[in-house]
């Protein structure tokens, strides 16, 4: 045996034994599903004539973050939901299997008030609520929310839906925007969501590669500041009032919003044209709410399906309870019926906490 052979044998013999097993395949598949959901959104910004994917997202942090920072992508804002659908879906014939979307909530219109009047009333209610403190350095903004979204993949003349289960997410975000998100599957029974005790689907700290950290927003009760924040970023060539609804929802999803700040936001939102009083409703957490909606508009020169974005508020506190997005108009090639729920988010609790929990 040569010296080289002896050396090789010695190194081989010192090879540490391996204990344990690789993670189950299911973990990889869950990561793939998560990655696909994220990446399909990103790919949606770069629409090609080939395979195209889009995702309606309510509770997905990537999607939310994408919308949250208009300055990072002015192209996103106005056309973020509707325009993508319009372009992606097209108008040609194609096979279509309708997706089993969640049942829509039942709204009861029992008031002749305008949507604007409802928002202003809610603003007054919120303004009368006690105000919690602002974040201090080192604290985490904790938000717990549940949600579901429909992901649609359009390939050539066919389209198909990705039906991920609803989930309950808890996020802890530092002022610099980094943090941890733990997401678990939820069960849906009709319109009611139930938390499950299943293991975490995803956990990351800091945010995963490719994700951006979005610092917590400095909150203000100055209407001019709030208006600027809601209209922030590079002005896109086309935008619509609906975007403000999205940005407000993003904000509530990322950090606690004091009642007085929310009151200011609602007053700014109340200036939006096209507000609809959608009446009273019981949300997916079983809470009574009042609903105000906005319908998306088509960008100039584009036709296609549109969506209705509905914000649900607590009539008792004026606080935002959740958001629902439904398809209005002709679904065209989307594999859903008119009126189908495209996504929803239910806000469950929020607070500022000093630390994140240990690894579950």
């Amino acid at each position: 045996m040569t010296d080289v052979d002896q050396l090789a044998e010695r190194v081989r013999a010192a090879r540490p034994a391996v204990a344990g097993n690789p993670p189950p395949l299911g973990r990889l598949l869950a990561m793939i599903a998560e990655a696909e959901a994220t990446e399909s959104t990103v790919r949606g910004k770069e629409i090609s004539d080939g395979d195209r994917a889009l995702q309606y997202g309510a509770q997905h942090p990537g999607w939310r973050s994408w919308l949250k920072r208009p300055s990072l992508g002015g192209v996103v804002l106005a056309a973020c939901i509707a325009a993508l659908v319009f372009v992606l879906v097209g108008t040609g014939p194609g096979s279509r299997v309708l997706a089993a979307t969640p049942p829509p909530l039942a709204y009861h219109r029992d008031s002749a008030q305008s949507g604007r009047a409802v928002l202003l009333h809610l603003a007054a209610v919120a303004a009368s609520q006690p105000t919690t403190g602002q974040p201090t350095t080192g604290t985490f903004a904790y938000v717990k929310y549940a949600g579901w979204y429909l992901a649609v993949r359009v390939s050539g003349a066919t389209s198909s839906a990705t039906l991920l289960p609803p989930s309950v997410s808890q996020s802890w975000i530092r002022p610099d925007g980094h943090g941890r998100v733990i997401r678990r599957s939820a069960k849906a029974d009709g319109t009611r969501l139930t938390e499950t005790s299943g293991g975490p689907i995803i956990e990351h700290f800091p945010l995963p590669d490719g994700g951006r950290a979005y610092p917590l927003l400095h909150l203000s009760t100055d209407p001019a500041v709030v208006r600027r924040q809601l209209d922030a970023g590079d002005p896109p060539t086309w935008r619509e009032p609906l975007v403000r609804f999205d940005l407000f929802t993003n904000l509530v999803q990322q950090q606690p919003v004091p009642a007085n700040v929310e009151a200011t936001i609602l007053r700014v939102l109340a200036t939006s044209p096209g507000l609809i009083n959608s009446g009273t409703v019981v949300d997916r957490a079983g809470r009574p709410g009042v609903a105000v909606s906005l319908d998306s508009r088509n960008p100039p020169g584009v036709s296609g399906p549109r969506e209705r974005d509905t914000l649900i508020f607590s009539p008792r506190t004026g606080r935002l309870l959740g958001e629902e997005e439904t398809l209005i108009g002709n679904p065209m090639k989307l594999p859903v019926r008119r009126g189908a729920v495209l996504d929803y988010t239910v806000f469950l609790s929020s607070n500022y906490v000093e630390r994140v929990p240990a690894r579950p």
């Binding site: 010192a14 690789p22 189950p24």
Partner: protein, 183 residues
């Protein structure tokens, strides 16, 4: 049907693609996990394994037929990222870096820590060439794929790595670095 595949095959992607990544995982996950665990710990190895195959999924059109060296190459980079981020967080990085040395010390027939010390004194590249060759049993052309170099370059590097290890063993654990030894 692979366990778990049905959970996403209807929605996320083409079922064939999902089945293919499942097959790749079943074929090589243990090897990738072992590779990572020998260089870190079980928890890190689990994370690294999952991340490696997630990369394989994202780059599924460019995974070569002989996938294992390619997967090791990804694992190597993922581990490096892990160590960097671990160092930022705490001293975990040092622990990750030191664990395999303790294992080598424990297992090495010499029992005097000389092999572990000699390996530690090698550059990361030299050490990885040797460990890929002798721990992962890769052929030189496969090691070249992992390290992203040509086969001829790898042959030279492998020769030098062997020589440096041999010299480090001869010099003993208390003597200088490889550069000192080479001088």
């Amino acid at each position: 049907m692979l366990a778990g595949v049905s959970a996403i095959e209807k929605g996320v992607e083409d079922p064939e693609e999902v089945a293919a990544i499942g097959r790749l995982y079943e074929r090589h996950a243990r090897e990738v996990f072992a590779y990572a665990q020998r260089r870190s710990d079980s928890q890190t190895a689990e994370d690294v394994t999952a991340r490696v195959f997630l990369v394989a999924w994202r780059r599924r059109t460019s995974v070569p037929a002989d996938a294992l060296p390619w997967l090791y190459g990804v694992a190597r980079r993922v581990l490096a990222d892990e160590r960097r981020s671990s160092r930022r967080r705490a001293s975990l990085g040092r622990r990750l870096g030191a664990r395999w040395l303790g294992e080598v010390e424990r297992v090495d027939e010499g029992g005097d820590g000389s092999l572990a010390a000699a390996l530690e004194r090698l550059s990361e590249r030299d050490r990885e060439i040797l460990l890929l060759s002798y721990w992962e049993d890769l052929a030189p052309e496969q090691v070249a794929v992992v390290l992203g170099c040509s086969r001829s370059t790898l042959a030279v590097r492998l020769h030098r790595a062997r020589r440096r290890l041999s010299r480090a063993l001869t010099d003993g654990p208390m003597h200088g670095t490889e550069e000192v030894g080479a001088a």
